[in-house]
């Protein structure tokens, strides 16, 4: 591609053309600004969730004492001041994880170092104080108790010593917590910045590597990441050869007449069909039609419980492959059309057959364009949620579709998807407040995954271009 050198023109037009260049520039600036705002929002809200937040001990006018993490403030109606939301945990005692407090009502506020935060199963977070640890009839207090808990947490839950923690809540109630039920233990107020950063990294890692808990409002998103990436890869593997062959036929083999033009228009318009329509098609044809037939032929002993006759990874990938097919065809066709006929004639004039010309000269030259098509397809497929709801995504599928059990890749399994997980966390969770930061974190992750998939393809394309000079 030749680059224009607009220097000579530019100097004159900036002055002469009045406002319109500024208008264009403003549009670009606005787009960039919105993009930056989106990313900033996702990054700050999403990543700050994992930061070990300071715990506050607050005394209210009524004499109540609460301990919790201050989440946000909102104005009260009729200018009655501000109210502040605290995450207090201890769901089994207070009945809720959250408490709104009027800021004016706070008489005393402090951040003592001995406040702790536990993550446990069941019941989620505990916030309060550690009084003692009971281990084999002994009662440990102070530093000994802390060390004991830290030691215990380095082991997997089943191997931990049979000890119990004695805990105290803000209002003085005590409760016992077996050490085997604790997944995380921290005293954020006593931590240095370095320790906090370390814990933050740990939390991010747990988010990425663990399965979801508590109806998707806690825990990690690993099955969803895996499902998304695997589905997109399967989709690319299906759509690329199919789309490329179709484009080759349209551009290189078919006679260019009214019919080919009609087919081309049809293909381009398919790209505009709403994705949910593809979902309906996938459900009707792939799931019930093909999947149902496969079940009656090969898995009849398991009926009426369906094997392939229900949504699954295979049908979801196929549906998305169909959805992104026009993108690949159009991009490849444009790439093929850009190759000068001189290249084709050069190959043919050396005695190459049409197949040899295609495979040795035309296709290598069109590879960057094909990759562009795949990039666009991946970007579109990774973000699609609507059709997946019909053809195989699940709210919770902790078993990833790839494991050590024959046949290793389980195409019939339902899978989790980040986009759907986002939707489910945001709207179907019981604990809305807890879901909010997870929604941001999941959204950020989805953006990053699409970005990573795209960058891989872009890097590949760049590499191919560099390999054969710098054109095409």
């Amino acid at each position: 591609m030749k680059r224009r050198s607009p220097h000579t023109i530019r100097e004159a037009t900036w002055l002469r053309d009045g406002l319109w260049p500024w208008l264009c520039a403003a549009c670009v600036a606005l787009s960039l600004l919105m993009l930056a705002a989106l990313l900033t929002l996702l990054v700050t809200r999403g990543l700050s969730h994992f930061w070990p937040a300071t715990l506050e001990e607050v005394t209210l006018g009524s004499g109540d004492i609460i301990i919790g993490q201050s989440v946000r403030e909102a104005p009260l109606p009729q200018n009655a001041g501000l109210e502040r939301l605290y995450f207090t945990g201890n769901r089994e005692i207070t009945g809720a994880n959250w408490r709104w407090v009027s800021v004016d009502d706070i008489t005393q506020q402090s951040t003592p170092n001995d406040l702790i935060r536990l993550e446990r199963t069941p019941w989620g977070d505990f916030i309060g104080r550690l009084i003692a640890v009971e281990s084999e009839g002994q009662q440990l207090t102070g530093q000994e108790a802390w060390d004991h808990v830290k030691n215990a947490l380095t082991m997997p839950p089943s191997q931990r010593a049979n000890s119990e923690l004695l805990l105290a809540t803000a209002d003085g109630q005590t409760l016992r917590q077996p050490v085997s039920g604790i997944s995380h233990f921290q005293a954020p107020n006593a931590m240095s910045w370095g320790q906090k950063t370390y814990v933050w990294g740990q939390n991010v890692w747990r988010f990425l590597s663990q399965g979801p808990r508590a109806a998707n409002t806690g825990g990690g998103v690993w099955p969803a990441i895996f499902g998304t990436v695997l589905m997109v890869i399967l989709m690319s593997v299906m759509v690329t050869p199919f789309g490329v062959l179709a484009a080759i036929y349209l551009n290189e083999i078919a006679h260019q007449n009214r019919l080919t033009r009609l087919v081309r228009i049809g293909v381009r318009n398919l790209a505009g069909v709403p994705s949910i329509v593809y979902g309906v098609f996938g459900l009707g044809v792939f799931v019930y039609g093909i999947g149902g037939s496969i079940d009656t032929w090969f898995f009849s002993d398991e009926l009426p419980s369906p094997t392939f006759g229900t949504g699954g990874l295979l049908w979801a990938s196929l549906t998305l492959a169909l959805l992104t097919l026009p993108v690949v065809i159009v991009a490849t066709e444009e790439g093929l059309a850009r190759i000068p006929d001189a290249q084709r004639e050069g190959a043919v004039a050396l005695g190459a057959t049409r197949l040899e010309m295609l495979t040795r000269v035309v296709l290598p030259m069109a590879t960057p364009a094909m990759l562009t098509g795949v990039i666009l397809a991946v970007a579109r497929a990774a973000g699609e949620v609507a059709p997946l709801m019909l053809v195989g995504v699940a709210k919770l599928a902790p078993q990833v579709p790839l494991d050590g059990e024959f046949p290793y890749l389980h195409l019939e399994r339902k899978f989790m998807h980040l986009g759907y997980h986002l939707f489910d966390t945001a709207f179907h969770g019981e604990d809305v407040q807890a879901a909010i930061p997870l929604v941001y974190a999941t959204a950020l992750l989805l953006v990053l995954i699409v970005l990573a998939l795209n960058l891989t393809a872009i890097f590949l394309r760049h590499h191919l271009r560099r390999q054969r000079g710098n054109e095409c």
Partner: protein, 271 residues
Amino acid sequence: MLASPMSAQASQAPVTAFVPEQCCLSIQQFNLAYAGKMALRNLTLDVPRHRVTAFIGPSGCGKSTLLRAINRLHDLNETVTHGGHIQLEGQDIHSSQMNVTELRRRVGMVFQTPNPFPMSIYENVAFGLRLQRRLPKRKRDDIIEWALTSAALWDEVKDRLHRSAWQLSGGQQQRLVIARTLAVQPDVLLLDEPASALDPISTLKIEELIRNLKSQLTLVLVTHNMQQAARVSDYTAFLQHGELVEYGPTDQVFTNPQLQRTENYITGRMT
């Protein structure tokens, strides 16, 4: 087969009869039409072996069309119809015994704009070889060196054979394309305005190359540049409106043309 009355008429136009000593390519009453529109009318001429023959004529006179017909490149275009015969060493190129890929190996073609393939210099030259048969690497390397040397490019590229061919200059690219064609050892080399996209120095190199190559094979050159035709060719054919107007030794055509039309064109009195 096209044998329209128009082409019959055209043949009555006074064409200088000329029969070279050793005929390599023989074109006999050849007609060609694009979607029914005549592009070549009843052409008859013999191209001598191991000589450079130039086709000259105004734009659209059919000289490139004729060149492409010799390579059967028109096979790619379904709208093209043709009649008459083209014989390569006595064998009709359109006959059923003639394998088109074999024909194209024997008749190489170099185009107006350099069209190296998107691969390394080495692979470009090896392209035609790989299409035919498996060669031991040493043999292939030898042929590639020979081809690049014949195309006067070896010294410039021998240190970067595995770099992209697209990094070469336009003139080098064109010589690479010639080397690529030479590597399959053709009998005839067709050159379609090979220097028109090049700078004067590259043009001179290509012309020198053409003169040197005629000891090895038969060359047919299409050119717009009258001086070039005069400099490098042994015989010149002047075409106009798809007809052969005059054909003879270059000296004679340029200094003493038999027909007024030829003289007008050569002296630039014709648009």
